[in-house]
Structures are given as C-alpha cells and as structure tokens.
Symmetry: C2
Subunit: 143 residues, 2 copies
C-alpha cells in the first residue's frame, strides 16, 4: 500500500490517529468538507466555530502533509486554490459519525436532524457522503 | 437526561466532541483505561507514548470535569486515588475503534492482533470492553 514511514510516538494505531487529528480543529475542517461542501479557504473561515486564519492555514497544511486532503487549482480561476478530501480523508466518515453520536448522547448539542439521520441509517448516511464525494462536490446537510 | 449547559463554540455535536477530546492525549488516556486496565496516575505515566506529568494531571482533571472519568479512593489504601471510566467514558469505545481502524488502514502502525480482532468481530470486541468495565476492572489486551 506504500504507507509512509513516520516518527510516531508509539506504534499504536490510535496514537497515529491522534497525532494526525488530535486537535480542536482538524476534524471540524473535515466535517466542513464532508457535510457543508467547503472547498476554499474562505469557506472554512465561515464555519460555525470561527477558526482563526493562522490556525486554519496551519491545519490545512498539516492535513495535506498527512494525505487527508489535497490542494487543487480552481479549474475556472487558476489563481484560486480548492481543497478536496482524499480517499483517506473520506474514510474518516465513520470516525465523525461516532463522535457526533457520542456527543449527541451525552452533551447538550444541536442539529437533531443530523443525529436522527445518522442513527436511523448510519450506513446509508456514510454511503451518501461517499457518493457525493465521488461526484466531486459536496452538499450542505449540516447547519 | 440532565445534560449540563456548557459554553460551546457551536451547537454542532462534533464540536462538543473535539472540545472535550480534541488533543493529543485524552483519547490515549481513555485507551489505557479501556485496554490496559490503567487506573492510577503511575499507570498512565507508563503508557507507550510517555506523557509528561503536568500534561497528564491537566488531562485527567479535564476528563473528570467533563464526566468522562471519575476519581475514586483506593479501597485498600485511602491515600491513593484510582481513576475509572464513567458510562460516558466507556461509550467512547466505538470512537476509539473507528480511529484505530482508520489509522491501521492508512498508516504504518503496529499491533495487527488488535486490529484483526476489531475487524473480525467489532461488536464482540466492544461488548468485551463493556463487560470488563462492568466487572470493575480492566485487562491488558493492547501492547
């Protein structure tokens, strides 16, 4: 599979996951790509949680280095950059689903429509995300 | 359900999850409780990733504040403190499973036995963790 050798703190797979994703923002950026169809720097800045410009730039760079997202030139405007999830990035859908369901169960959160959809037909929900992604675009399904 | 009102950055359930768990260490501490039966401060310090004492103290405090773990007096030695997952903490098993499977698929990691077990019988694996937890103890199943 050509996996890269990296200097992990341990060989535990969970450790690799938290080294890549263990911060306040990375999974929110991935969520915005998966569920809100965010592709540009501006799209991410407009997320609900108001990420700071410098933090966003840093996280996008890291996610790209880890092969979770990739940069593409905008086909209509070569000066613009679009971000897209890779296969590796889209494979995070089940991680996101479990984290959403856990918080919805135990914390006072919003967006019950999303949670209900995930609970009712989890596999269908994840398949839908993959389908959208394969069509090369995203649709807003999340507030 | 008596969920606490908190000042989240947004109402999105995923945001609540990353506000609680989004750092390099929290999920590793939970892993050590779930899979290595860690209960004492010393147990956590001996984890594979060599967490620093001050970071560990901070994370344990945060996880306790969020109701993911709880502190108990050692029944044999009242001066000692044990940490235990709450129901909310044990409910993180599916999140951990997905993160392990994702990294095992996409990164060069170790512990193929754990990954094989999760893949072969995911529900059985998670049920086993719950069972161990309900018996009030943990067993080492992870390197």
């Amino acid at each position: 599979m050509g996996k890269k050798k990296r200097a992990w703190r341990s060989g535990c797979p969970l450790n690799a996951s938290v080294e890549i994703l263990g911060d306040r923002w990375s999974l929110l950026i991935i969520r915005d790509m998966m569920l809100r169809g965010a592709t540009t720097f501006k799209d991410f800045l407009e997320g609900f949680e108001r990420i700071a410009t410098n933090v966003l730039a840093d996280r996008l760079k890291r996610l790209e280095q880890f092969g979770v997202i990739e940069k593409r030139m905008d086909t209509r405007d070569g000066r613009k950059t679009n971000y897209k999830l890779t296969q590796k990035g889209i494979d995070l859908a089940p991680v996101l689903t479990e984290m959403v369901l856990w918080a919805a169960e135990h914390e006072d959160t919003e967006n019950p429509e999303l949670v209900a959809m995930m609970k009712k037909d989890r596999k269908g929900f994840e398949a839908g995300i993959r389908e959208e992604w394969e069509r090369g675009r995203g649709k807003a399904t999340m507030r």
